[in-house]
């Protein structure tokens, strides 16, 4: 039963990422420090090719590796999101790595590997395989979080992330094991069959609960959101950018497959978990952000809040909901990446200027950066013209289709609360005088490109969503 060659096409993105990760890792020692650009270029090429390689699986949809993976539009879509995020992170972090004097080769390699892991997560049909993918991305993330080795905050961020992350994955794994006990399989489709063919026992439900614990932790849903602000704050800003997008998208993808492919029959039950978690997550994220003064923490809380919004779409339990999740993930990733990478740039050497007040007068000092940042914030806030609005729009719609009126109202009110702190940042940037005359930081071409892509993407999704939403809808129907 050795897998056929076609399966290699189906994992082409992972292979590309893996190969280029290796390449970067191995070549880095031989690249003179003066030519660090070479490393970056290779990594970038890897990421770009990895993202482009989704064309191959797209042409070869189907199960791979004896049904361990399932390459469908859903996985393609999330591959694109994850791969795109990686591409942007790599593009946006060269300047940062240079400035902070971090080992670029290892950094890129880990990012590429992590992306491969996320790729596995979103296509996995079998839970242990998914778990390995999850661990690949997690362990890479732990390392990346502590990348500023001499910075106590970075270490602390890594150790917290590591301990709690492992803790949570243990829950996930235990859930898989219990499910295996109860239903005799760890494959999504068969789980579904087992669940529907006979009345499932308590054990299966328990298994679902534990798996949800693990994944909700990864996506930072309440009450497992607690690690997020600490980790994002301590981790190097580009890593935070990655963490808040790629692994999150992948974990949402996995959660989605579990809930919608394996456990739809339990929908009436997990609905309430998702419902309550969504409500809690939105509230905690938004309210806690109100008084936040550190930019990275603010963005962290905001990403918690957004996880809550996405869970609302889960609660909708319909196809539009799935599509909305996907669309939202893309929209959210664009804004979040742009924001975090911009923050990484503006934070200055050693990330000294991470307080919101440090952004005072940015509108005058660096109008372009401030304008881009505003676009990201407005997208996160969900104002029209930006992708965030349509994302929210779709979620509302999906949830209303399922008559989740009160959850929708709660989400609506939450987005008003959210508006307060997003707008506060804009206030600081445009309406306050700068504290001191910090000289404008020259922006590198890379970062400029990142901003161009993210802003353009945000506006593109906000104004012409048909293409992406079309893919997302296709993806939503493809998972079953």
């Amino acid at each position: 039963m050795f897998p056929p060659l076609q399966d290699a096409y189906r994992i082409a993105p992972e292979l590309v990422l893996f190969v280029f990760g290796l390449l970067v890792m191995l070549m880095d020692p031989f690249v003179p420090r003066a030519h660090r650009g070479i490393t970056a270029t290779i990594a970038l090429t890897g990421a770009a090719l990895g993202a482009a390689a989704i064309a191959l699986p797209r042409a070869n949809l189907g199960l791979a590796f004896n049904g361990l993976l399932r390459i469908d539009e859903f996985s393609i879509f999330l591959h694109a999101v994850v791969g795109g995020a990686t591409l942007l992170v790599i593009l946006g972090s060269a300047e940062y790595l240079e400035r902070e004097n971090l080992p670029a080769g290892e950094f890129y390699a880990l990012v590429l590997f992590a992306t491969a892991g996320m790729g596995v997560m979103v296509s996995a049909q079998e839970m242990v395989t998914a778990f390995i993918g999850l661990e690949i991305s997690s362990i890479s993330s732990y390392i990346l979080a502590s990348f500023r080795r001499d910075v106590p905050r970075s270490n602390e961020s890594a150790i917290k992330y590591f301990l709690l992350g492992s803790f949570a994955t243990a829950f996930f794994l235990y859930g898989v094991a219990l499910g295996y006990n109860a239903l005799g399989t760890t494959r999504l489709a068969q789980l579904h069959v087992a669940l529907t063919s006979s009345t499932p026992g308590v054990l299966a439900t328990l298994a679902l609960a534990l798996m949800m614990v693990g994944l909700c932790f990864k996506v930072a849903a309440a009450p497992f959101q607690i690690w997020t602000p600490d980790v994002y704050e301590g981790a190097p800003a580009p890593v935070a950018a990655l963490l808040s997008t790629g692994p999150k998208a992948a974990a949402f993808g996995l959660l989605l497959r579990i809930l919608f492919v394996a456990f739809p029959s339990q929908g009436e039950r997990w609905l309430w978990v998702v419902w309550i978690s969504a409500a809690l997550t939105m509230c905690v994220g938004n309210f806690a952000a109100l008084l936040q003064s550190n930019m990275k923490r603010l963005l962290a809380y905001s990403s918690i809040a957004h996880a809550g919004y996405i869970l609302v779409a889960f609660a909708a339990r319909n196809e539009l909901g799935i599509a909305a999740v996907l669309f939202y993930l893309a929209a959210y990733a664009l804004a979040k990446l742009g924001a975090f990478l911009l923050v990484a740039h503006l934070g200055g050497a050693g990330e000294r200027h991470m307080e919101i007040d440090d952004f005072a007068g940015l509108g005058e000092r660096q109008p372009v950066a401030a304008a881009c940042f505003s676009v990201f914030l407005l997208s996160l806030l969900g104002l029209p013209v930006t992708a965030g609005f349509l994302g929210k729009f779709y979620i509302f719609k999906a949830a209303l289709d399922s008559k989740l009126l009160w959850l929708v109202v709660l989400m609506a009110l939450n987005s008003v609360v959210g508006a307060y702190y997003y707008l506060r940042v804009i206030v600081v940037m445009y309406m306050r005088e700068p504290k001191d005359d910090a000289p404008p930081l020259p922006m590198s071409l890379d970062l400029g490109l990142v901003l161009l892509l993210t802003v353009a993407g945000t506006l593109f999704l906000g104004l012409l969503p048909n293409l992406v939403m079309g893919y997302a809808t296709q993806a939503a129907t493809s998972i079953r």
Binding site: I139, F162, Y174, G234
Partner: protein, 100 residues
């Protein structure tokens, strides 16, 4: 013949003890050990299920879990060393630079 549920209960107890260990212990290394304990409990569950159902898959999973645990251990301990080096403490409660 031991009923498989016995094994499962033992696994649950061990998993629970691991969970308790995480909140009770202060030393990072010990906490990490508690996590390893949880993974062990998982393995027990996998083996039990595998043996009960006669599938070999469960054993393969155990295999993977052990590898993952090893990888986690390598990275985790490296991070722990880094923390210990920079912060001169292994008490997790002293790591509170990042809060609120």
């Amino acid at each position: 013949m031991v009923p498989s549920s016995y094994y499962l209960v033992l696994g649950a107890v061990l998993f629970g003890l691991g969970v308790i260990g995480f909140v009770v212990k202060r030393n990072i290394i010990t906490i990490f050990m508690a996590i390893e304990l949880m993974l062990n409990a998982v393995n027990l569950a996998f083996v039990t299920a595998s043996r009960a159902s006669g599938q070999l898959d469960g054993l393969v999973y155990v295999f993977f879990v052990i590898v993952v645990a090893a990888a986690e251990a390598a990275v985790g301990l490296a991070i722990i060393i880094l923390v210990a080096r920079n912060r001169q403490t292994l008490n997790v409660e002293h790591l509170d630079l990042l809060k609120n």
